[in-house]
Amino acid sequence: MTQTIQVSLWRGRARGRYQVYEVPLRENQTVLDVVTFVQRTLDPTLAYRFACRVGMCGSCAMTVNGHPRWTCRTHVANVIRHGRLKIGPLENLPVIKDLATDMRPFFEKWQQAKGAFVPSRTRDDPIARIAPGGEPRRAADAAIECINCGICYAACDTVRWNAGYLGPAALNRAWSLLNDERDAANPERLKAVAASGGCHSCHSHQSCQEHCPQALNPTASIAGLKRASTLAWLKGELKA
């Protein structure tokens, strides 16, 4: 007899309910496999999002048994409790339908934090030489592997409490660019992250670091931004 797991999936939008499905338990099964099984064999109306299935694109994040996780790299065996899985959409983001959230607020804040690279050279200039062992390069390296899955944003209490807070991912991105010696927008970036809702709103709860599937530490990046922007403010560099 095939062993099964009870899977509760969120159905609806902001208002909705959890619906229970029976899914066969398999070896090396990921949470995304479970959701895909439900959508393909039990209920084709289920909405969810995924793309790469290998932990690169950051599109399949969901709340699994109360914690935000990337579902494609989360093995059922590691998160199942008493034979049950409860899977919902990411917290702190509007729900489009079922398990798919609207990521616009997340990326709008990424832009507010000046998360786009602004080149200081043209294509005709020689390529900038950045020493691999330099302090800024190492600081940027530590923060650069973010895949924008939104897990840190969903895990953050400050985002939950303060709708204007930029969030860990956007601030982590700002920190990696602040340490990019080729970037030309750092004065504006520092102003953006030093304003209300910026890095100084962070309470250092470290949920972002705890849940980041890439093992990044956005709290440390935000602490770096706090130091840099405080210093700039004291020097009078943040005036409009």
Binding site: T158, W161, N162, G164, A194, A195, S196, G198, H200, S201, K226, S229, T230, W233, L234, L238
Partner: protein, 109 residues
């Protein structure tokens, strides 16, 4: 919270840390020595040092607490940052007046 409020809150915290330790030490000293209210007032009245010490304490505490309460209200209540700012401006003024009044009561000759 903006960088301006962040710096003010950290600066006032840094100022209050030694003042709190000193204040606690003074309480222990007065209690162990069995000093009466008259003994204490005899030392504090007319003292510029004690007036400056507790005056600085009150000013730092009023600023620090107001910024903290503003954040709590903005995050945990339905108040906007602006309304929370207005509320704590009044709250901070009350703390300041009450505190300075108490300092004046024990230090003015």
């Amino acid at each position: 919270m903006s960088v301006r409020l962040y710096v003010w809150q950290r600066v006032t915290a840094a100022l209050m840390a030694p003042l709190v330790l000193m204040h606690v030490a003074v309480i222990f000293y007065a209690a162990r020595k069995g000093m009466s209210a008259a003994d204490i007032l005899g030392r504090t009245r007319g003292s510029v040092l004690w007036a400056s010490f507790y005056g600085a304490f009150v000013v730092a505490a009023a600023i620090h607490a107001s910024i903290g309460i503003r954040n709590v209200l903005a995050e945990w209540s339905s108040m906007t940052e602006r309304h929370a700012g207005l509320f704590v401006a009044i709250f901070g003024c009350c703390l300041l007046v009450l505190g300075l009044r108490a300092v004046a009561a024990v230090t003015l000759p």
